[in-house]
Symmetry: D2
Subunit: 351 residues, 4 copies
């Protein structure tokens, strides 16, 4: 459970630490004010205005929730009719790690097998061709994540083609941005936040994994999806009594581009790990594009590393080697990255 | 929406301010630590141990969620089979102000009309007699809140009789403690937290309305209700990635009985308001037992008060008079209570 | 359970016998034909065309299902968004005798207390005024039954006013016609089937309680409610593989107005019972308008009658007297009605 | 839609005709009797007793519903807790052709890829290993069909191994017997109805596809799954008012082994088609074991056959050839089978 005691450092995820100090300071400074409840406070309004500027759409509807699974189940349940389904990569978070949250709202997830966690028009088209009548569900929504659960990201061209395909096929496009900061700050990225926002019907910007205590900002661009959204928030238990807590955090995250500089640090730490691991001749499960990397190590090496460091063992490659997941964040200490690298070099000589 | 600008003070609810300073300080002091995610951090464990001592049951299962509606829908959905229903007072929060959250999990709420928001064995018995076969739902769970939505509280005798009745009739008892602190610190209360805990199958202790930024502690005493509860939390989007945020808050709330002293302040402010209002000859919709009071004022007086103060107009008594709801909290300033009273005296002379 | 052995006759309900012989004959005559499945057979199409003529709307969408609860849950679930509710009389079948079928689809039923089982604009308006924001469900659909669960019926004026009110308040109107035949053939009725159809958005015509083996015809008049309805039927397990079985029955029921003549017989038997019971000086819980009557008898008399006849004891009036429910049908034998009356006269002399 | 007019014969499915004449005769003979409603009639009880003898378990609970999707969604929803999932072959009916009926009850279907539509312990074990904590659903139920959607059947050894695996892994086993008659009468079958019943927790015997107008018999053998099942039936709209209609049909189907002789005819017709098709040198998608066969024909030949015969084009093999599905039934006319074969021979000479 708790890494702190046994290990010297954790690369297990990007939510091991608290929040960026600016956020705690802002919470303290505004603490005594009386504010309206349930997201109707000044700070939630201010954060919404800031984000509308960021996405360059003054008509976007913006709502704040406390976590990603909550955002996913509410957005999806608000869009689909009872017989409609959502299409996702088989590695999609909603399909694998949300305990059936989407199905619990009554909807089927149609999955598509992928190598890199990314969906393409071709894969979706094949699925649509199978769904021809009322004996099957009717696919209506496409779910993607950027960065994906495998650390890959969408290029401007890929996202444009996907969105065009959706529009041409009466499908809606939803992007899970739990790790959007890292995606947008990737050296491989060619999308601005505003450009990305313009290429989806609805998405969310993840705060929890990029410096907030909690909080995701749902951005609804498609007018058809805006009505009565607050009813969905309330019905699913997502309407925070002290909505100010979420609003204040996003005000701070987007002050002086803090959100982006935090993500840049996470990516820099990931790149440093990735380059040094590659330099030692190790391969990766997927190309490192963001703050998650998936190096493939001998199991004996993984055992050694596990004595000092926390990380997930992602998948077995063969009975000798496995892929592990290393995750960096806004809070990752470079000295610990260096230490991991030097330990890796040391252990590697034994292999 | 925002009271701050137009009014001088809000008695609208008990979540207008942030958190008690101790909580913000603890969040800051622990901020840099790496902790396990999803409620498996040291602080959530520590808070659970503290609460097990408070309820004097070392076998209680304890889970932290961010809000009351979330707690209610998850607890209720985790207990009931698809054809089973929950019994509640018609004024119960789950029946009136949760946007159909319980029904959205598939369950009917059987309501009972009450004057004071409290359930009794007699009222439940009459309802059970109507439910005789598979053409109707099967009532299985009783939902009560303490303090109730009308500010009333349960006595030890009332709760004991209700729990005995439930056991005798194969019903389970769940208590919504959104305002439990105020109830337990009421001058009319004769229940300790441990005694109350021993008289229900499951309940939650409200933090949001008593000094926390967010957070409710679900206490499961009945062994039959403990298995796999974390699946329900995850499936409903309630498992906080940074569960430490909830754990730390409850550690602080129950350090040196802070939770109770905060509630005592709220009650003291309510009593002061109540006594002075009564002193001016006004009646109340219900007896003031906790931090919510429901004075009945002439509509002209309500209009005058509304110019300076925020509060809910609760219900129309006749075309001349209405009941309003005044709510005090851990953060209510006594000077503002005094000011409200003096304004009330001033305006009352005109009537 | 089984009345046949102990009793000489049952007035318990209107589905104790099989089907009108014409229906069985038609099933036999068409039995060998190969027909398309799932309601796309010739007979379902023919029945739909016949019913479109009956309701005088060539654009009505018509679907056949096997029972009333199935019709109710599918129609309601197809109309409401997750946070929307349906308004019904507290005596409404969906609220009392469908085992939570509507809530199981995720929707709250907002109930209104009534004396005679009928809804009025006034009662609905009061309920709408309480539902002001996203903390509560949003009432969207009004459910009524004709005849009602208390045997009463709606007049043309009442239904017109109700429908106008719904339109003016952005509400939809759904009528449960499980006993529509008896309502339309009531001596008190002033509505034609076409007029009634024109005053609701969607309704169903009950076959099961008026001469069919099984089957209800859902008539959708409002264009907004027509799309993809077959998906809802399939998803809820209501799409009959041999849809011909339902289609053939409705073709027969509406051949030579059989549907209406069967209902007229049921009403005639009810009127005979009602007049003779009244003649003996007994009162009724509600006025007898259709094939259900609710006489109030001394409990001692009820015990005597129970030895020979099956019926429901509906409600206790006081500790001396109770209301029972007598139901007649297309199959009720007049000789048994006469026998019940003579027994009643005999037993009454003793009281 | 309707094949009758354009084609000379349909091999599209096994529910194109009505019911076996014995059933219609029994409905007529019992039509005038007064019987209790909702499955508590004499005939439903008699049918239950007959089936308990057939499965040789006097404690089995037996319920009758009108169709397979209804049976599947009710049984599965009655077994699973909200976070539990059902495991099925990717070709399983619940996964492909029930319009999301299972997900609409809130449950995820975990799918396993198969070649022949059959599940094995190995495939399930691999899936269980991936489901380790509360971030994922908890697989609890295994769904199989016999015969499968690809016409294959389970041997005694296969079913025994699967059931043992389920028991060893705290999984329950449910068998969809929509085409159970054909499976049990297959020349490849080595299971008796009683043996099969003894190797599953719950299953249903399909009547609709083997001579009934409508009706499936759900057999619950596992005591843990029996309580309150009628509540589930009512809540899902599956409790027939005139339950006698279902009971009478199963009494007739199991009189003098009619159920089995009807299935034997269907299989004989399938075997005749299969052998002659093979004799002409054509291959099949799967081995023909029951009343569904999947020959692979040139697309040009399929076009020719389509002019006279109705059938489903199942899947594309390459751009030259496709697999079609031919289905025989209790009502299939041997002369039409012979005609299809002679036409096939004729057309084949052209290829």
């Amino acid at each position: 459970m708790n890494n702190k005691q046994e290990k010297i450092y954790s690369f297990k995820n990007d939510y091991s630490e608290g929040a960026h100090p600016n956020i705690l300071q802002a919470l303290a400074e505004t603490n005594a004010e009386q504010q309206a409840g349930y997201g109707q406070d000044d700070y939630s309004k201010r954060a919404s205005n800031i984000l509308r500027k960021e996405v360059q759409d003054e008509n976007s509807d913006i709502h704040f929730v406390s976590g990603g699974t909550q955002a996913n189940l509410i957005v999806i349940a608000s869009i689909l009719k009872p017989y409609e389904s959502v299409i996702a990569a088989d590695t999609g978070h909603i399909n694998t790690h949300e305990a059936g949250a989407i199905e619990a709202t009554g909807h089927k997830i149609n999955t598509v097998a992928t190598k890199n966690g990314k969906l393409s028009p071709e894969k979706i088209e094949a699925l649509l061709e199978q769904h021809t009548d009322e004996h099957m569900v009717k696919p209506k929504l496409v779910f993607i994540s950027n960065s994906t659960e495998l650390g890959t990201i969408y290029t401007k061209r890929e996202l444009s083609e996907l969105y065009s395909f959706c529009k041409a096929n009466d499908l809606l496009l939803y992007l899970d941005g739990a790790r959007l900061g890292s995606a947008l700050c990737s050296s491989k990225n060619d999308l601005s936040l505003a450009e990305l926002s313009n290429l989806v019907d609805v998405f969310y910007i993840g705060g929890t994994k990029n410096g907030a205590l909690c909080g995701e900002a749902i951005i609804i661009n498609n007018d058809d999806l805006k009505d009565d959204f607050r009813f969905y928030l309330k019905q699913r238990g997502a309407l925070f009594a002290k909505g100010r807590v979420l609003g204040i955090q996003f005000v701070e995250l987007f002050k002086d581009d803090l959100f982006f500089s935090l993500a840049e640090h996470a990516n820099a730490m990931a790149d440093k790990l990735s380059q040094n691991i590659a330099g030692l001749g190790y391969e990766f499960l997927t190309e490192t594009n963001s703050n998650q990397l998936f190096p493939i190590f001998p199991n004996t090496l993984i055992d050694k590393l596990s004595e000092k460091y926390s990380f997930h063992i992602w998948s077995e490659i063969n009975n000798q080697r496995s892929a592990i997941r290393l995750v960096t964040s806004w809070a990752t200490k470079e000295e610990m990255v260096d230490r991991f690298i030097s330990d890796l070099e040391k252990y590697s000589t034994y292999n």
